[in-house]
Amino acid sequence: MTSERRRTLAGEILEATGINAATCYQCGKCSAGCPMASESALRPHAIMRLVMQDRRERALTDESIWLCLTCETCSARCPNDCDPARVIDAVRELSIETGVADIPRTISAFHKAFLEQIRSNGRLHEFGMVMDYKLRSGELMKDVTSAPGMLTRGKLSFRAERIEAVDEIKRIFEKCGVTP
């Protein structure tokens, strides 16, 4: 049975999250409240449907899954407890694993830069992060105007905070098989 399921997208989602996509009856309440609906091609209920129909290609490669703010509004209001937010999380993970992800450059750059900061310092060094992000995303000039303000307001510092047990963090990343 499970091996049967593992082959379908819905099966994999079930394994990863314990959520049965078939419980979604497409009422659209999730999409009605989604703050990003106006900007994304696939709305929460559509992603649920693609999962149900095992349309892996469409679900995993669409930019929309990367436009989710994980604000959880959909899950909070879902009448049938389908937890679309969690499903979308899982779909994202799958799309990374299978390498088909078409992550908007800026967003992947952001996540990568962010995680790299954590891996190497244990904490987020925003200044370093922003610099790294700019390099990864190529958005060099964006927000440069606010950087000075950040500095004068003491919101950004050039010096990174590094925790003592950085190796612990590196180990966690290895254990989870994540390399930014």
Binding site: C27, G28, A32, G33, C34, R43, C78, P79
Partner: protein, 675 residues
């Protein structure tokens, strides 16, 4: 030594084709205890039965086995025949060699062999049959109907017209139930009041109906045909015999600002009041919670703070010191028709439900529920039928109707479909469009469920002719924005978010079981489902019976129901009640369990497993009357004869008549005749 007659039927060719009937007769002739065995073409025919009767006389038979069709087919027939011949009818059993043999086998040899086995087995059983008397239960030909909504009224009228006494108990001040609150009814749009009120009056004036309003069922004892019910008549503070319903008390009452339950909170009432002008009976109830006088008394004031109604009443019908009284009655049957309530979806939920913070019900005045819209649309309502929104009394130009609020929502509501909402939403949209021609009606739905005569046509009409806009998708949020109510929805059909600035929103909230139905079910020992609806005895074949004999169910207390269904169920229960009342005594097969008090150890495991509560403890005394222990006792009136008690009895002290251990074991033993 028993002398059993075995009668093997050819059933034309049906049995004889595959079973060698004569061979069977031959084989049985020599079987110990068999005095006579013969075959015949049609055993159930009159000559066939005569043959049985003669044999009983000639061979002085002590038992009869008819090897023919299924006992479900002809057991009655042949038992009657035996009875006529003076042989106790419970000494007659059937061996099923048709359905269970000749019809399902081809090989004549095998079939014949099996037929012989079957006949032998039953012969062995009959050897241990005992002459029994069928149980006769006297029937009190008076019915109790609980609930005075349309279902209860219908059931009461049908039974009363059938010539039997009916006691109708209603917990509110007037009968009429939810139907009296409705404006117009789908799919015909005829006025609810106009079709209901006459029935209410009829029930009130019917010589065979005793009406107890402002009353509740306190306790129920006994069993089918013989229930004893105790009814609590709650203190009305108004003498029902003296009151002439002039309404002077109501006019005099200073507490006029109390939200009216009948108007679903959209109107006000006085502390002493009749719920609505057409109330039946037209006798007010004094609401002690909100009455100035009783508030004063609760505060412990030395002198009564009010008394205007008493002064105003020329009949002297008002009695501030009235107390609850009780009426005890014998009834033979009970119809439960306590109806439903709406799921109040406000944020505060007493019963573990979550409520809908996102819909602002109870916080945004112009977000109302279906029943409130009924009152707005009703000619007798607070706005005299004009659609005006609660907040500022203006006419809403855009009204949003939301389906499935609480229904089909396991997370915040209940998982079932409330069934009537699709229809009343369509009705509401229509009524609104009929009253506000330039208005816009938008309905958010998941599916349109309009199965019923003329139902789908009706909901289509709302869309096609009255121009209601149907949007497929649930609503995410409803909130107040200035003097508008903003609705965030989604159109799943063309994949767009839909934002509507409405003037009023109507939520089709779910149908739930009436308060206190579980307690009532307990009193009646009928079961309820996970939601609290009353369980029918069989979902298909016994839809208005309950698992307690003599208790029937009608209307929305069994499941979400619309008016026609409720009425149909009510008439069905009435028919059941009347067939029950058609005889002076109930005759029942003596298939009941009997306890051997000498061996019973009083462990009462039987009481635990009995599905009918037919088993109770009974004290046993020594000769000088000293209680020396207890044993189980089975009430034959209540026992239905499942035999579960016997299977769990440790001391083998309980026997199910017609299926005793002796009988079963001798059947089993007979099967080794295979050797």
């Amino acid at each position: 030594m028993s002398r059993i007659g075995v009668f093997i039927c050819h059933c034309g060719e049906n049995i004889a084709r595959t079973v060698d009937v004569e061979a069977v007769a031959e084989a049985l002739k020599d079987h110990p205890g068999v005095a006579f065995a013969t075959g015949y073409k049609y055993m159930c025919s009159d000559p066939g039965q005569t043959l049985v009767r003669q044999a009983i006389a000639e061979h002085d038979l002590t038992g009869v086995v008819v090897a023919a069709c299924s006992p479900h087919m002809h057991e009655r027939t042949f038992r009657r025949a035996c009875d006529q011949a003076g042989l106790n009818k419970y000494m007659c059993e059937m061996a099923n060699i048709r359905e269970h043999c000749s019809w399902i086998h081809e090989d004549r040899g095998e079939a014949t062999e099996k037929a012989i086995d079957i006949a032998r087995t039953i012969v062995e059983k009959v050897k241990h049959n005992q002459p029994l008397e069928s149980i006769r239960i006297p029937v009190t030909k008076r019915a109790l109907v609980i609930g005075g909504g349309i279902a209860g009224i219908q059931a009461a009228l049908d039974i009363a017209d059938g010539g039997h006494e009916v006691i109708l108990v209603e917990k509110e001040a007037s009968i009429g139930g939810h139907m009296s609150q409705l404006s117009e009814t789908f799919p015909t749009l005829d006025c609810s009041q106009c079709i209901l009120t006459p029935r209410m009056v009829e029930a009130y004036q019917h010589p065979n109906i005793t009406l107890h309003t402002w009353s509740e069922v306190e306790s129920v004892d006994g069993y089918i045909g013989n229930f004893t019910v105790k009814i609590r008549k709650k203190a009305r503070s108004v003498n029902e015999d003296l009151c002439n319903g002039c309404g002077d008390c109501q006019a005099a009452c200073p507490a006029k600002k109390i939200p009216s339950e009948f108007e679903a909170g959209l109107g006000k009432r006085t502390a002493i009041s009749v719920p609505f002008p057409q109330a039946v009976p037209n006798i007010p109830v004094l609401d002690r919670q909100n009455c100035t006088l009783f508030k004063g008394r609760r505060k412990g004031l030395a002198k009564d703070a009010c008394g205007k109604c008493k002064e105003a009443c020329l009949k002297g019908a008002i009695d501030y010191d009235a107390e609850d009284t009780f009426v005890e009655k014998q009834v033979g049957a009970i119809v439960v028709a306590v109806g439903f309530k709406l799921y109040d979806i406000g944020r505060e939920q007493p019963e573990g439900l979550k409520g809908y913070g996102e819909y602002g019900y109870g916080e945004v005045p112009d977000v109302i529920d279906g029943l409130q819209f009924e009152r707005l649309a009703s000619a007798s309502g607070p706005t005299a039928g004009a659609i005006l929104r609660p907040s500022d009394g203006t006419e809403p130009k855009t009204v949003v109707f939301v389906h499935c609020v609480g229904s089909r929502d396991p997370e915040k509501g209940i998982k079932y479909c409330s069934k009537i909402c699709c229809m009343y939403n369509a009705k509401h949209a229509m009524l609104y469009k009929h009253k506000v021609h330039d208005g816009r009606a938008v309905a958010f739905y998941m599916d349109i469920r309009a199965a019923g005569k003329g139902y789908d046509e009706f909901s289509r009409r709302a869309i096609e002719e009255d121009g209601a806009e149907y949007v497929r998708g649930r609503v995410s949020r409803i909130f107040r924005d200035g003097d508008k109510v903003r609705v965030w929805g989604y159109d799943t059909l063309n994949g767009e978010q839909v934002v509507i600035d409405a003037d009023m929103v109507v939520l089709a909230t779910a149908m739930r079981p009436q308060d206190g139905v579980r307690e009532l079910a307990q009193k009646l020992s009928v079961s309820t489902d996970e939601h609290g609806f009353i369980n029918e005895a069989h979902p298909k074949l016994r839809p208005v019976e309950t698992n307690t004999a003599g208790v029937f169910v009608a209307g929305a207390c069994q499941a979400p129901r619309d008016i026609p269904e409720s009425v149909a169920m009510a008439s069905a229960s009435a028919a059941k009640v009347m067939s029950l009342f058609s005889a002076d005594e109930l005759e029942r097969e003596p298939a009941v369990a009997i306890v051997n008090e000498n061996t019973c150890i009083g462990c009462m495991r039987c009481e635990l497993v009995c599905p009918y509560g037919a088993i109770e403890q009974r004290e046993i005394c020594t000769v000088d009357g000293q209680v020396c222990g207890h044993v189980a006792y089975v009430n034959p009136g209540v026992c239905q004869g499942c035999g579960t008690c016997q299977a769990v009895c440790l001391s083998k002290s309980v026997e199910l008549q017609t299926f005793t251990d002796e009988q079963v074991y001798s059947e089993i033993n007979a099967l080794c005749a295979w050797e």
